[in-house]
């Protein structure tokens, strides 16, 4: 009974924790402009994050080493450092976007200017990083993030022609109003939103925080293989409702308020409450995850003690890194950088930074010295190699497409 409860809890938090500001914004933007013609990218990205999260979780559970420790070990200090700089830059950008997202969600709920919220949110996030127990943090925000299921309910309430939605999703084509480069640019952005590097840093380091062993692999797998795809369905529901309500009125999504409009139209005030709670939980939870990930990756590269499982004074450098990151994020946001714009860039740069993180995980998952009986099987390797190629293509295409389309205009 207790085991079943733990299993269900893990799956539910994985669903609720899957969506972050990047998924919210990118799916709404893409839905309003491209309908479901990019739904295949969401599916591709969700399967990809499942493959790599499972691998990094398994490596962490068996070897006790988290991602960046392995990156340094396998790529050496120089290439590892290049990866560290890139990954930390992207994760910090995402951290900024998430904190901004929390402030925007609070502004929507309260009508109090987001600038006044930003320092408050920064402080709250930092307190969670400093003091709140790891599993409480994960469970509370993961469960509250489930409120975003309201997008699925809205889709159902809008009574669309599901057959034509399915046809559109299954027969992708570039809409007449958009150019092919723009279509591809948003494909890369959606892929980056689904497969952000921080998710892997956080997932593998979280496994060590929670002291996983080989015995926990089945539970970890069920979280990944059930929770993440269901989270991906929320992403698709956001895109579909955005297409139905906003796209049909010629609205281009530029603010978090617009992301919530389809729910307002479909379900009214009750729906809006759920959407706002979901926005808050999803962005706040992701802010904690990205903040921790900045600390995790830098500490792991240099071999410093990290983690919330020890007292802060026993992991002083780790906590100082997170403190500096939080102050910087708040500072950047107070210069009036638009969190939505920051989000749009962060998902594209995520795609750029992916390959050097995924290669070492794939290699170590094949090392019997570390993995013993839990070494990659044939399926994991076929999928892993396939995604390495996809990630490489997305990474190389991202910047040229960004320049070519002036960031998707």
């Amino acid at each position: 009974m207790k085991k079943m409860f733990a299993l269900a809890l893990g799956i539910l938090t994985a669903i609720g924790g899957f969506v972050d500001i990047g998924d919210l914004v990118t799916n709404a933007v893409v839905g309003s402009r491209f309908g479901l013609s990019l739904a295949w990218v969401v599916v591709l990205g969700v399967v990809g994050i499942c493959v790599f999260a499972e691998m990094s979780g398994r490596v962490a559970a068996v070897s006790g080493r988290a991602t960046f420790s392995l990156v340094r070990q396998r790529l050496g200090p120089r290439l590892g450092f290049v990866n560290l700089c890139g990954s930390v830059a992207v994760t910090a950008l995402t951290y900024i976007a998430e904190i901004g997202g929390v402030a925007l969600a609070l502004e929507l709920a309260s009508s109090i200017n987001a600038y006044l919220w930003i320092p408050v949110v920064g402080l709250l996030v930092w307190i969670v990083l400093w003091r709140v127990k790891f599993d409480i943090m994960e469970n509370v925000f993961g469960l509250a993030g489930l409120a975003l299921v309201v997008f699925g309910v809205s889709l159902w309430a809008l009574k669309p022609d599901f057959a034509s939605l399915a046809t559109q999703a299954l027969h992708p084509s570039v809409p007449a109003t958009e150019g092919t480069p723009t279509y591809l640019y948003y494909a890369v952005a959606l892929f980056g939103a689904a497969m952000t590097p921080y998710e892997v840093f956080f997932f593998s380091s979280g496994g060590i925080e929670e002291k996983w062993t080989a015995k926990d692999i089945p539970v970890m797998r069920s979280n990944v293989f059930v929770g993440f795809p269901l989270g991906g369905l929320i992403s698709l529901a956001i895109a579909a409702t955005s297409m139905l309500v906003l796209g049909s009125s010629g609205i281009d999504v530029e603010s978090l308020g617009q992301v919530a409009l389809p729910v307002v139209v479909a379900l009214g005030k009750v729906g809006l409450i759920f959407a706002l709670v979901g926005f808050f939980a999803a962005t706040f939870g992701a802010a904690c995850e990205t903040g921790l990930s900045v600390g995790y990756s830098i500490s792991q590269y240099f071999g410093w003690q990290w983690g919330k499982f020890v007292a802060p004074r026993r992991a002083a450098r780790f906590h100082v890194v997170m403190l500096i990151a939080t102050i910087m994020a708040v500072g950047v946001l107070l210069t009036t950088a638009d969190p939505i714009k920051v989000t749009e860039y962060s998902v594209v740069f995520s795609a750029v930074a992916l390959p050097l993180t995924y290669l070492p995980i794939l290699v170590v998952a094949n090392d019997t010295r570390y993995m013993g009986a839990h070494v990659n099987g044939r399926l994991a390797n076929v999928l892993g190699s396939f995604y390495l190629v996809v990630i490489l293509i997305a990474s190389l295409a991202a910047i040229p497409l960004m320049v070519l389309t002036k960031a998707g205009q």
Binding site: D252, V265, L272, T336, D338
Partner: protein, 155 residues
């Protein structure tokens, strides 16, 4: 809220000085600017329409609607003033005046919607929804005319 940062503003200004401050010599490019301005304005008007009717039907909390409408108002004025800074290649072309005219009416109607929502004035809200609908229709007919070259010549 306003996201137009001094930093972002400076970059935008720099870009503007490079590309737009001088008159657009290329009529094609100017037509593209006009068309995308009209489409962007239409997107904001549609956002305001959706929000305003949700307020009228009691489907949204006033603070949230207020935030959405204020942001829309802000972005709308930014778009219009950016377009206003571009000099047209042909002084006699009525295009610029047409776009600016309908855009300013869009601004007025979004602003009156925002005021009505803030005051909780139902009658004023209904009136501004009607104004939004009218502007929306004008925007789409202007867009059609701009897209269709024969319509342009007919002016």
């Amino acid at each position: 809220m306003r996201w137009t940062a001094p930093g972002v503003g400076a970059i935008a200004l720099a870009l503007l000085l490079c590309s737009c401050a001088a008159p657009r010599d290329d009529p094609e490019a100017y037509l593209g600017d006009s068309l995308s301005t009209v489409e962007t304005v239409a997107s904001y008007v549609a956002t305001a329409q959706l929000t305003a009717s949700a307020v009228r039907d009691g489907r949204v909390f006033v603070p949230s609607a207020n935030v959405v409408l204020s942001e829309t108002m802000q972005s709308l004025s930014d778009t219009v003033s950016t377009y206003g800074l571009v000099e047209p290649p042909d002084e006699r072309s009525p295009m610029r005046a047409q776009v600016l005219d309908v855009s300013r009416r869009a601004e007025d109607s979004v602003f009156s919607t925002l005021t009505a929502v803030r005051r909780g004035d139902t009658a004023a809200l209904d009136a501004s929804i009607d104004r939004l609908t009218a502007v929306d229709a004008d925007l789409s007919s202007l867009a059609t005319r701009l897209e269709d070259p024969s319509g342009r010549r007919g002016e």
